[in-house]
Symmetry: C2
Subunit: 184 residues, 2 copies
DNA sequence: CGCAACTAGTTCACGGATATACTAAAAACG
DNA sequence: CGTTTTTAGTATATCCGTGAACTAGTTGCG
């Protein structure tokens, strides 16, 4: 294993970008840094980058122009599809913290897109639902986003898309071997 | 196509979670909402969620405890592997905005992990590099992260991992058909 | 040359997300 | 029943990242 003292000068192509960097990383990690689980790094680096690129594109082209944040969209989307939900459940389904949901809700309620009604049975919890306007907005926004999602996904064939989903599912689901950190 | 007026009450299993929600979304979108590019939604939803779960896990188990943010790690990682880089390039390679790099650099420099030296040829730009300590830190941190990356990735066989990388690459690279929004 | 256009980096105001600590309601349990 | 523990949600402080506006250095071109 190489020591980590000197920054070995290496041919670093100056036309490097977000993507070709992964290759560079791969090369340097294996040749200079010695035994690492290099493929694992590549998988996760690629996963992250793909996700970020797509998310940023959707957020900036669709949601921001309408004054909605990415998280705002997610919360509305979840509420739209999972019916009225407890705040807690919304947090689980969107993958945000409960605090985040609480804050976001405030914004969306004051914007007239969501409603927060106290639960009758349980005095602690709150039911989130969309207002009439919220419902029609999310419908329209989803339609728009879906077109763009389609444009993204279409560079893969349908079988490829299914395999991708399957692999990602497997990556996340079969992870009971170690204790994963999750929000809350 | 169904109208988007009433929130149709539907059996929403109350044991719904982050992952099974994708199924529910799929079902409702196709049965009630009519013709959407449903598979596209599924692909991108899954992509995002997988990325978020893994990122959150790595950040909270490895980087936060050491007082480093996820972005801080990324910036150091890039600087480590791509040698001294201009701030602009670092932004490209990490996928952050130039402003983010500028802010982060301040923190890392004052923490003694990075150095910022003005470029001799171009009076506007700045070269970023790691300090001795930064270099040894990132080496150690990477080692640690890599173990956990390995644990994550190992639920897939090696060929599966390669296919996953390939599909993600394709998803992102072959997208010249439409104009993707990127930072800066 | 000299002015316009561009480029690199920084600063600032803002929104969003987190962790922590808190309030209040419900459940558990003797 | 009453006390303890758990659970739902919210307020606060803080950090991080963004876009936009700004400064300053460089390049292009008449």
């Amino acid at each position: 294993m190489t020591d980590d003292a000197a920054p070995v000068p290496v041919e670093v192509p100056d036309s490097l970008d977000f993507w070709s960097f992964i290759e560079l990383a791969n090369r340097r990690l294996s040749t200079e840094y010695g035994s690492t689980h290099e493929l694992a790094t590549q998988v996760l680096l690629t996963l992250n980058r793909a996700s970020n690129v797509v998310t940023y594109d959707l957020e900036s082209s669709i949601h921001r122009p309408r004054g909605l944040s990415w998280s705002g969209f997610r919360l509305m989307f979840v509420t739209w599809l999972a019916g009225p939900v407890e705040s807690k459940t919304a947090a689980k389904l969107t993958g945000m913290s409960r605090a985040a949901v609480s804050n976001l809700t405030k914004t969306l309620v004051s914007g007239g897109l969501m409603e927060r009604t106290p639960d009758e049975r349980d005095g602690r919890s709150v039911q989130l639902s969309l207002t009439e306007r919220g419902r029609s907005e999310i419908g329209e926004i989803y339609r728009e986003q879906n077109e763009r999602e389609h444009a993204w996904a279409s560079v893969l064939t349908e079988p490829e898309q299914r395999i991708l989903v399957m692999l990602l599912d497997k990556l996340i689901t079969n992870r009971s071997q170690f204790d994963v950190r999750g929000r809350n």
